[in-house]
Every structure is written in C-alpha cells, then in structure tokens.
Symmetry: C2
Subunit: 248 residues, 2 copies
C-alpha cells in the first residue's frame, strides 16, 4: 500500500454497463488522486438500481478513506443517486434551500424552475453542497462520500474544487522505463527488483509497437530516491542481458 | 431487468486504478453481451492484491450468471489472477499439461520455455482452457468464471471465442432519439413514457454539441415493437412541445 489514505470511485449508470458510453471519469480521478497522495483502491460500476447503489456505497465508505460517486444527479427519472445516498446513510432527503436558490438564480426566472429541475435541489440531510461552476446544479458531500455529476466536464470541475480539501499523503511518484523485449524475458529480473524494494509498486505492461514486442515497467512510490535506485538496479540487469531500451 | 441472464466484469490491475491505462475491455465486453442477451449488471476494478481479488470473485460469481475477469495472467510477479481464482474456488493450482504443450509449441524450443513463461501454464484444478489465438498463453474457465487476458487484442480474441458458448437471452435491442433541448425539459414526458413501458430501460443522457444543449434518449428492451411504441409515444409529446429533434 503506497499511501495509507485510500479511495474508491463508484460510477453509477446503466450507460457504462450497456457499452453506450466509454467511462472517462475514473481515469481523470485516478490520476489526480495519485498527485494528492491518495491511492485509488477500487472502482465499481453499478446500475441505476437502488439496492445496488446503496450496497456499494455502504461497502465502500466503510472500507476506504474517501468515496467519489459519479452520475445520476440530474433531473430525470433515472437519476436516483441522491435518494440512494440518503438511504445508505439513513437520513431524510428534501429540497436544500441553498441549492434551490442556486438553481433559481441559474435559470433566472422562478417559473423556469420546473418540478424536474427542482429535483436537482434534493439533497440528503446533513450533506454539504459541492460547487458546480459549469451548470450550477450542485453535488454534495456527506461523511466521506462525495457525490459528483456524470458529465465529464462537470465532474472534473466539481472534483477539482474538492480535491484541495482532502487530506492526502505525500504525492505518489512514478517513473516508467521501456524495453523492446517480451515481458516474459524481463520477469525474473523484475521479480528480484520487486523483492528488493518492497515499498514500491512495480508493474509490468506488455505492448506491441513499431513491429516489436516490448514491455513498460512502472516504478511507483512516495520516495524519489528509492524509485531511482530500483530503476537503476533493474537497468543494470537489463544492460547485462543486452536488452534494448525504448522511448516512453 | 431486461434479461434474466446477468454478468459482471472484474478488471484486475493497478494500471487502471493509477490512471496509467484507460480501460477499454469493459466497453468491448458490455456491447457484445447486449447482443447475446446478457445484461452486464456490475463491473469492478480491483488491485493486484490477493484478498481483494478473491473477495470480488466470490461475491460476483455467487450473484451473477457469468463473471469475466481481465488482466493478471501474464508471466510477471504482479500476475496473480490464476492463484487468486484457485483460492476463491478452494482448489489447487499447478502446471496444466495441455497449457504447457501450447506454450512449448508457441516458443518452438523447450529451452525457451523459461520458468517465468511456464507460470502462464499454471491453471487451477478443474478449470478448462480458453484459446488464445493471438499469443498462445491460454485463459481458462472455472465454474461460471472466465479468466481472460488484459491486453485488449488478446482479451477480445478470447472473449469472442467463448461468447458463442454462453447461454444468453433474446438480444437486447436499443434505439436512440436525440432532441436539442435540455434534459430537464424532457424529464416529465420521459418519466410518463417510462411508467407506461415498465419492461423497457429508458435512459437520458445530456450533451452539449454544435453550440446547443441536447439530450440523447435511449430505449432498450428485448421487444422491437415495444421500443417503437415507446419511442413514438415520446415523440408525439416532444412534437407537441415543439422540441427540435437531433441526428444521433
């Protein structure tokens, strides 16, 4: 475990599970959490079904430092996330006065705040709002759970707003080295390196590029010198075996 | 629930959770399962940590008709999937003679079958092999769990090979209609349509395109006439309100 501060992402929505939409939110959050010294320990993608969402929220919030949900906080019938979160925390849900005012201001005219739009002001009791600088309708935080929009531009703006307030660890650093050699020929040297540097997370990812088989090796940890030492140790072994290094 | 036959995908690998790699396997499997009448009910992305993988495998295989895992069956120290599956099923693991022969033939020379490569012939007891037409090293099936490679081209070839042997339901059909109107103005009509067609899964996905806010509406089910009726019912309401339809 590179960082003691952990997180889970919960992607809520049938559109990912039917293959209609390629999720990109997880990747965005994953990269940013690394920089904040928080390790993303798990992600789940669940349907728009109350029991599924409630169970996943409760399992993840008990297990990890932070949980980020994406999706399901819009105005339509399939937007059930806020209700699910209220149920998961055992709190009531109703119109949040500040959220209502934000929406009223956004739409300019109280008459434009239709019943459907007002649904987006329904917030579980005890939650605090998360600012939405893109399209006004807020997300919210309750306990260690952050409820964000599903539309990537909105999700990113919300996430960037909350990230500075999270308690992280030292940033998780990463260096990558590539060799034009099949993964299986690197395995022994890599295993030894991994054994000698137990605090590092060392990953090996095969690829086929420029007509050649190759492997990317990723060294990840919080101490730059340790990463450099592991990288050097592996490189010495690779040079001895005559491996060709590749651009990364 | 559109189909009684359900599935879960388990993506095993730190590279997705660190943001290094954007997963594309889930989307591929999701689309193909729809055509086979199998609904993908959940996906999880877990670390290369034995306890995490074992727990996720056991939860998902108990709950869903099929489980597909991707990743972690290569030759390096971080490839722990086969051992985790053996543990999850409570069976032993060892060199599978047919798998060994496949690898030996692939590498051409027994001397090339290094210890690291031989790791890829370790298969849990009672499992049957899944053909790998790309790079030889097989996947395997045990119970309702299908263990596939992580590299997309290999995963796809393995998955395409097993798909015809799965018991599915009627193909899940889908039609999409788009309107240049914000989701919130469609919500009421859509809710009514959803209530009138409870067997359909109707989703609503906002977008911003050509400088205009719009919403894609997806009608999904196994009966083409039901989808057409729901689409027509919504369209009549949309025309009455003067909504502008968009290309999809």
């Amino acid at each position: 475990m590179i960082s003691p501060i952990s997180a889970a992402v919960l992607v809520i929505g049938n559109e990912i599970l039917t293959g209609r939409t390629q999720d990109v939110n997880l990747n965005y959050i994953a990269k940013k959490l690394m920089g904040a010294g928080i390790h993303l320990a798990e992600a789940r993608i669940v349907r728009d079904i109350e029991a599924d969402v409630v169970a996943a929220v409760n399992e993840c919030r008990a297990r990890y430092s932070y949980v980020f949900t994406t999706g399901g906080i819009g105005p339509t019938h399939d937007d059930i996330t806020a209700d699910c979160i209220a149920k998961a925390f055992g709190v009531s849900i109703g119109i949040h006065e500040t959220a209502r005012q934000i929406l009223e201001k956004h739409y300019g005219d109280p008459a434009m705040l239709t019943e459907a739009r007002l649904r987006m002001a329904r917030i579980p009791a005890t939650a605090t709002l998360i600012d939405n600088p893109v399209s006004a309708a807020p997300g919210f935080r309750i306990g260690n759970v952050f409820v964000l929009a599903g539309v990537p531009s909105i999700m990113q703006a919300m996430f960037d707003g909350v990230l500075p307030n999270l308690q992280g660890g030292p940033p998780i650093l990463s260096k990558t080295i590539g060799c034009y050699v099949p993964e299986s020929l690197i395995a022994d040297d890599l295993r030894k390196t991994a054994e000698n540097f137990p605090d590092l997370d060392i990953g090996s990812y095969p690829y086929f590029r420029n007509g050649k088989h190759g492997t990317s090796l990723v060294f990840r940890g919080t101490k730059a010198d340790e990463i450099d030492q592991a990288l050097a140790a592996f490189s010495v072994a690779a040079v001895q075996r005559g491996f060709e290094f590749a651009e990364e």
